[in-house]
Assembly symmetry: C2
Homo-oligomer: 198 residues x 2
């Protein structure tokens, strides 16, 4: 791996962290360069446009997310244990050191919902992929008997996502120390409501 690849990786690492604070659109080449003690043009040369930087940053964030949230959860047993692992890893995700600013995707989601362009398209695709993972895990829970047979697995993913959005909202904007605890309570209630009767 040449030197270019290394610095390029350092840039993207920091870009993910910075974008989780200020958003993908709030990312500025100059600010990023200052943080990394590089020149604007030196950094810029690694990407050919800001849009490319945004896309690569998004991709880098998605890779990190899969690595820390999705992949470890797949090792958990199918069904409810895996649902719990997904939830737990998801809760921990915004806390990791490289994301002091909360979740990059939540941040980006609000910024881009009125944009058009490849960055939004990619963001939407990633969000749908993630929802599909949640849906798939819930479907397994149905097949394994943890959820009732007529459970609406997409509704499950929807409600779970809502809990995580409120967790983020409550913890980061409102600074509520109980945010995570409340998310856990909500998750338990969600599981309960999808279990077989009796």
């Amino acid at each position: 791996m040449g030197k270019g690849e290394i610095t390029r990786q350092q840039i993207l690492d920091h870009a993910v962290a910075l974008a989780s604070k200020v958003g993908l659109d709030g990312l500025t080449i100059g600010g990023l360069a200052d943080d990394l003690k590089m020149s604007k043009s030196g950094l810029y040369a690694h990407f050919q446009s800001k849009e490319a930087l945004q896309l690569k940053t998004l991709e880098e964030g998605a890779a990190k997310f899969i690595e820390t949230v999705v992949k470890p959860a797949i090792k958990a047993p199918r069904g409810e244990p895996r649902l719990r692992a997904l939830f737990e890893n998801w809760c921990q995700w915004p806390k990791q050191s490289s994301l002091q600013g909360g979740c990059l995707f939540v941040q980006a989601a609000a910024e881009f919902d009125d944009f058009v362009g490849p960055v939004k398209d990619r963001l939407v695709a990633l969000q749908k992929d993630w929802l599909d993972v949640l849906v798939g895990a819930a479907r397994i829970a149905v097949n394994e008997g943890y959820f009732k047979t007529d459970a609406d697995v997409e509704q499950y993913a929807y409600e779970l996502y809502g809990i995580m959005l409120m967790y983020h909202h409550s913890a980061r904007l409102l600074g509520d120390p109980k945010a995570e605890q409340r998310a856990r309570i909500a998750f338990e209630a969600l599981l309960n409501s999808y279990r077989p009767d009796q």
Copy 2:
């Protein structure tokens, strides 16, 4: 009311609509002035800074929200009917003509969670006020027997807010046509989980 007050009101009306698209921070004096066929400086003269414009816009949005969501719901009977009215009005709120861009507060929440300053402070205060309204309505539902006596009313508000955040996220970013329907299903499930046993 002098002429100044009238145009000032027109500015704020449009500012709320625009900010619901691009965010409070994404608001630009020039863009606002263009839309209203005014000069930048002419518009600027009504406020003494962009921060003041943001604060007034936030206040205007809050006033509209109270007028269209909170006040009509108070007329509904205490307890579950009022909870339903609050939910229903809340669902309709981002659709009204002056808010083509979705909910101003959801938009602003993501932008300002890492900022410091009076705009964020006011935004947080408004959000807490709104949560308090939801908590109060839930407490009434407890007292009127719609909810079980040991119901955690703050948890109720938390989970309800999560549903609305996901509604917004799903409808605006992902463009899911089922977003509102799913929000309704989630709300019914939420009500059910708080009802007295049997």
